[in-house]
């Protein structure tokens, strides 16, 4: 009897190992990711078990932060990445330093660094590319189809819009001075897509500190501020002299949104833009049957 059990065990082990070797396909199984939106895409595809390490911008979903950390996306290091024994490195366009990436490629590591910076139009393309690299193109197609619902909802909302509010996006209050999104920022793109006017875009490019008097002159109708992981900074913003007398504060139109949700250009972003559009245009109706599917803050990330 004992002998038989041992035989059975051996056979089972043999079967298991042989099955594994049959199943082994060329698709990468240990992926190191540099860039939050790529991590988010892989999670949305349900392939997170293949992630061997992430960078420090990968903070959604919360579970991703438990993976081994390779550091900030612009400052990854050769041996750290290699020590995770990866078979693929996926990186955002700003993965760096450049010479480190080059060294990594010279060691023979497979890698794909996305060449363009993120934008709203490129979300589907990026999902398709990541899915293809992981060998799960059909899953990618399914995910892209779910995003089409957001695109349709957005155009449905925008069709009903007549008035475009003047919007100001505040990244943070550093030393009492708001850092604001100018032209060419992800926030600018999102605001424009949601049917608002980014008034700071007329004045400067990139993220800049805003002077008190310029802020008063701009007089935004809506202020969007980043809630860092659910922390509400609204009281601060309505207190600073920059905005005290603005329409936004008077009409209680200071909106707090999770920065990663809105700006990461990940699968959640099209939905976030729809949500922003409904906030900017409260009179507009969402199409019937449309519902928000993704979590809107980093805290509630388990629902993805």
């Amino acid at each position: 009897m004992k002998v038989q059990i041992r035989h059975l065990f051996t056979i089972a082990v043999l079967l298991l190992t042989s099955m594994q070797s049959v199943k082994a396909d060329p698709a990468p199984q240990r992926v190191v990711v540099a860039g939050g939106s790529i991590t988010e895409i892989i999670y949305a595809l349900g392939e997170q078990q293949r992630i061997a390490g992430v960078d420090s911008t990968s903070i959604f979903p919360l579970a991703a932060t438990k993976k081994p950390q390779i550091g900030y996306v612009r400052k990854i290091n050769v041996e750290g990445v290699l020590s995770l024994n990866p078979d693929l490195l996926l990186g955002e366009a700003d993965t760096g330093p450049e010479k480190v990436v080059k060294q990594l490629q010279q060691t023979g590591l497979n890698s794909h660094i996305f060449s363009d910076n993120d934008n709203l139009a490129g979300v589907e393309e990026k999902i398709a590319k990541v899915a293809e690299l992981l060998g799960v193109s059909e899953k990618g197609q399914t995910l892209i189809e779910t995003i089409q619902a957001d695109r349709q909802a957005l155009s449905h909302v925008l069709k009903q819009v007549e008035h475009q509010p003047k919007v100001l996006f505040v990244l943070s209050l550093r030393g009492g001075q708001p850092i604001v999104a100018g032209k060419g920022t992800s926030a600018d793109e999102v605001i424009t897509a949601a049917g608002g006017i980014n008034i700071a875009a007329n004045h400067f490019n990139n993220w800049k500190p805003l002077s008190t008097e310029a802020a008063i002159a701009m007089n935004p109708d809506v202020i969007i501020s980043m809630g860092r992981h659910g922390e509400d900074s609204t009281p601060d913003l309505s207190q600073v002299p920059h905005f005290q007398f603005s329409n936004a504060v008077k009409n209680d139109q200071v909106i707090v949104l999770d920065g990663v949700y809105l700006l990461s250009m990940s699968p959640r972003t099209p939905q976030a833009v729809v949500e922003l559009a409904t906030l900017l245009h409260p009179e507009a109706q969402l199409p019937s049957g449309y519902g928000f599917r993704f979590a809107s803050s980093s805290k509630a990330s388990e629902s993805l």
Binding site: K75, N77, V78, L82, S83, Q106
Partner: protein
């Protein structure tokens, strides 16, 4: 503070042993640096990889393309910074002097930051044309430019006094600081992050190809410094005294200035700003073996190599798979050690 017979170990024999000990320590630390890292490589494998040229494995790539260039860079940059610090402190006859005084850090920072911020716009194709070499080239050019401005300002009428050098350095550093501030203001988010990391220093990612020009320059300067040991010793007696003893003081100062500018410039171009090594290492060495430059200069080179090598080892292993900026480590490691040394010498002097 820089008297000639002031040290923990005074007799010449002890100093020679000290040098030998430091050299052995360099070898030991180098071996450690090659053996330890993110990718596990056993000692036997390390020896086989080092002494045979077959196999094209990942381990071999890690040793030859990643760890060895980094080790060599750490050793040479450490040695260079140590020697520059020692020479600067001698020339200023002040233990608080460091290469930053003659505009190296600020000039290099200006060059690097201009390249990062303006490299693809105002300077048209500079960044695109030179690729990964752009920032090092920018940093080196910036360093040379600012150093030569300070040199010109302080050497009017062939006088080149230390006071005028110091004042010119302070003024030009302040102006450069303002320009860097303006560049920071107009930089984008990514550029800002690039330049923040640049100013914290890192030895990562350099191949032998990339390092070669800098290495040659730094080694040449180290040799140049070594030949100045005797004149520097006489200079410590005082400028007039040195003149009477046959030292061409002006030329000595100029040589130290040029070697320091070239050597630190070449180092900073590759690694970003690694503060503290050039300041602390000569100090510690001087406390140990006294200010005789025949020993101080080589010992500072060896000490700098050891400190930077250890610091880099810690930088790349402490928070694997990520990496710490090396500037943080050199300060955190060197600072307390330096304080202990200082307190110890004071105690001995009181006895």
């Amino acid at each position: 503070m820089l008297a000639l017979n002031q040290s923990l170990l005074s007799p010449d024999v002890a100093r020679k042993w000290m040098l030998l000990g430091l050299a052995v320590a360099v070898l030991g630390v180098s071996f450690l640096a090659l053996a330890i890292g993110g990718v596990d490589i056993s000692l036997e494998r390390l020896v086989t990889i080092l002494f045979s040229s077959q196999t094209n494995s990942l381990e071999q790539a890690v040793i030859w393309q990643i760890r060895l260039p980094r080790l060599v860079l750490a050793l040479v940059v450490g040695a260079g910074l140590g020697a520059c610090g020692a020479a600067m402190q001698a020339i200023f006859r002040n233990p608080l002097a460091d290469p930053g005084l003659i505009g190296i850090s600020s000039g290099a920072a200006l060059g690097a930051i201009s390249t990062i911020v303006l490299g693809s716009t105002l300077l048209s194709d500079f960044s695109a044309y030179y690729g990964i070499y752009a920032v090092p080239i920018g940093a080196f050019l910036g360093c040379l430019a600012i150093c030569s401005i300070i040199y010109r300002l302080s050497s009017q009428g062939n006088r080149f006094t230390i006071v005028s050098l110091l004042l010119a350095g302070i003024a030009v550093n302040a102006i450069v600081g303002a320009v860097i501030g303006i560049l920071t203001l107009i930089s984008s988010d990514e550029q800002l992050r690039d330049l923040t990391f640049w100013s914290m220093g890192s030895l990562a990612g350099n191949s032998f190809m990339m390092m070669l020009p800098s290495l040659v320059l730094m080694l040449a300067c180290c040799i140049g410094f070594s030949r100045l040991a005797q004149p520097l010793n006489l200079y410590l007696l005082g400028e007039q005294q040195a003149k009477h003893l046959g030292v061409n003081v002006v030329s000595l100062k100029k040589q130290v200035f040029v070697f320091t500018a070239l050597c630190t410039g070449a180092a900073v171009a590759l690694t970003g700003i690694i503060g503290f090594v050039g300041f602390i290492v000569p100090h510690i060495v001087r406390l140990l073996i006294g200010p005789d430059h025949r020993y101080l200069l080589p010992a500072s080179m060896l000490g700098g190599a050891i400190l930077l090598c250890l610091a880099d080892l810690m930088a790349r292993t402490l928070i694997l798979p990520s990496e710490l900026p090396i500037g943080l480590i050199t300060s955190a490691l060197g600072g307390p050690f330096f304080l202990i040394m200082l307190l110890k010498t004071y105690r001995i002097k009181e006895l």
